[in-house]
């Protein structure tokens, strides 16, 4: 067997292992989905009227149309947590030492985690989109717009999954690994997910406009609700690619260097 096929076969074995974990213990995945769904119910069902009056543009008075792209992004960001916990649990338990003393493709452990987490995150994101549509989210986007949006979401999922891997490798225990991703989960709030940054105080507004999630939310909003902004789209792809590159390189270095316990 060549090195490449060995790597593919071993990664597939690891992927089966991770999917089996996810199926047998779905609480982490479901828990990750609960946050965006709860926020959707709360902000649309409870605060919707008040918040809808405050947003401008085509979504004025129709709050779910404004907030749904932000919630969809939150669904992707939530996947970061279960990835981080799963990677950290593997690294702190003896099993990683067993894998390391076997003649298997070294990268397969992380590849299995990344592919498995991406599948989980994309499924839960699709579920959140379904719920948003059921609650009245109507888009003006065509098939091409939806495909572009899906492409962006897959790219973002890829980047944030690697961020989750990195946070899991950085943490000393699974408790720590479940804390740091909260930053990723809450960052969309201080962006354009819930309300437009223009409505925020000056300092916060500056942060909200320049943080990575805002152009991604605006691109999704552009594709699904009104005309997309080319500048935001370029910024989104650049942020995703940058985040993925940094997180991938850090994860690789951490994985190789980390003294196995």
């Amino acid at each position: 067997m060549t090195t490449l096929t060995t790597a593919a076969v071993d990664s597939a074995t690891m992927l089966r292992r991770n999917l089996r974990h996810a199926l047998r213990y779905p609480s982490l995945t479901i828990g990750g989905m609960m946050m965006p769904i709860t926020i959707l119910l709360l902000f649309v069902g409870v605060f919707g009227n008040a918040l809808g009056a405050g947003v401008g543009g085509p979504a004025k008075g129709d709050y779910i149309t404004y907030v749904a792209p932000g919630i969809i992004l939150m669904a992707v960001a939530s996947g970061c947590l279960s990835t981080s916990v799963a990677v950290c649990t593997d690294m702190t338990e003896g099993i990683v030492d067993r894998f390391r003393t076997m003649g298997i493709a070294r990268a397969s452990l992380l590849t299995g985690h990344v592919v498995g987490s991406m599948i989980q995150t994309l499924i839960s994101t699709a579920a959140v989109i379904g719920i948003a549509v059921a609650m009245g989210f109507r888009t003006h986007g065509g098939v091409a717009d939806w495909l572009a949006a899906a492409g962006l979401l897959v790219l973002l999922t890829f980047a944030l999954t690697w961020v989750g891997v990195m946070l899991g490798l950085l943490a000393n225990n699974p408790e720590g690994a479940s804390n740091t991703p909260l930053i990723v989960q809450f960052l969309p709030f201080v962006g354009s997910a819930i309300v437009p940054p223009e409505s925020m105080p000056a300092g916060v507004r500056w942060f909200a406009e320049y943080q990575p999630f805002t152009p991604i939310i605006e691109t999704l909003r552009g594709l699904l609700v009104d005309a997309p902004d080319g500048h935001d789209a370029v910024a989104s792809v650049a942020w995703c690619a940058g985040l993925a590159a940094v997180a991938y390189a850090s994860s690789k270095a951490l994985f190789n260097r980390k003294a196995p316990r």
Binding site: M1, T6, V9, D10, T13, R16, R17, R20, H21, R24, Y25, E93, G94, I95, D97, R98, F99, R100, T101, M102, G103, I104, A259, P260
Partner: protein, 319 residues
């Protein structure tokens, strides 16, 4: 490769390892012939686990040479990995999977193929008495079951050299004996075992050769018989009915090693029939009545305590 090299499973020369300022292994030399059990004995913190981690490719040595299964550890770690199996001190099983799924995971990673992998898994479940628990998640297993599964997972690729790092630490006596039987079975199949332990009885029971590691150096190496001959630990223990008897006997024999609370006297000697008869004759002549007599030949405990550092002894005996 010459004959001697072919007969050698593990060869280590001048191996060194330090973590920061602390030297953990300070020039280790050892050779393990194929098909034998080699036991590394030492108190907590003596460097046993570090030794296993280096030889099983988990960490690199700072200096020295090591060949495992004829492969150079530094130049060909993947070659070493293909020949070895490792059961570490902490259980290396997937607690979220069932016992059978754990074994199949290993079979898949060894590329055994679907049918052969399942056959191997079922065979090991049978052999390690895990058939009933095969479809339960490992999180529900007892310590002994986990350990058996752990060793079974190590065996699935048919490794010729197996590292067992403190395989019975924390196990109850029955599970410990089961583990010993497993090890003996492996040796019958021609597998080489590198075993670390802090239990002297375990080394005595299993090992062909024993090396005592203390403070990063091998302080003794040999068969258990050879090691026992290193220290004069043999003595005869006499117990008396009362303090007067103890006093009288101590006077007659000129012995100072006495325990007043237990009314016991410890007389150096090998416990041979001739010397015993002479000893009892002297006591009878002095009209001292002996309540009880027991003969102690030196055991590995005596060797261990004599060879390893003073301050570590307490930990070992209390373990």
């Amino acid at each position: 490769m010459n004959t001697e090299a072919r007969q050698t499973a593990i060869h280590v020369a001048g191996l060194r390892k330090a973590f920061g300022e602390k030297t953990v292994l300070d020039g280790i030399d050892l050779t393990v012939p194929r098909g034998t059990v080699f036991s590394l004995l030492g108190p907590n913190g003596s460097g046993k686990t570090t030794m296993v981690r280096i030889l099983s490719t988990l960490i690199r040595a700072d200096g020295g040479e090591a060949r495992v299964a004829g492969r150079d550890l530094a130049r060909d770690p993947d070659g070493v990995r293909k020949a070895i199996g490792v059961t570490g001190q902490y259980s290396a099983v997937d607690g979220l999977l069932t016992g059978r799924e754990n074994l199949i995971l290993m079979a898949d990673l060894h590329h055994l193929g679907k049918a052969a992998g399942r056959r191997a898994a079922d065979g090991l479940l049978e052999r390690f008495d895990l058939v009933e628990a095969a479809n339960k998640t490992v999180a529900t297993y007892s310590g002994g079951m986990r350990r058996r599964l752990d060793i079974a997972m190590t065996l699935i690729g048919g490794p010729r050299i197996i590292f067992l790092d403190e395989p019975t630490t924390g196990l109850d006596p029955r599970s410990r004996r089961t583990t010993w039987e497993i090890v003996r079975g492996l040796v019958r199949d021609g597998v080489t075992i590198f075993l670390t332990t802090q239990y002297l009885e375990e080394a005595d029971q299993l090992a062909d050769r024993i090396a005592v590691l203390d403070g990063g150096r091998l302080v003794a190496e040999g068969t258990s018989g050879e090691l026992k001959r290193l220290v004069p630990g043999g003595h005869v223990r006499l117990r008396f009915h009362d303090l007067a008897g103890l006093d009288a006997a101590a006077r007659v024999l000129g012995v100072t090693a006495r325990d007043d609370d237990a009314l016991c006297l410890q007389v150096p000697g090998d416990g041979g029939v001739r010397s015993l008869r002479a000893l009892l004759g002297r006591l009878e002549d002095a009209a001292v009545e002996v309540g009880e007599l027991s003969v102690h030949t030196p055991d590995l405990d005596d060797v261990f305590l004599a060879l390893t550092g003073e301050n570590e002894n307490e930990k070992v005996t209390s373990a």
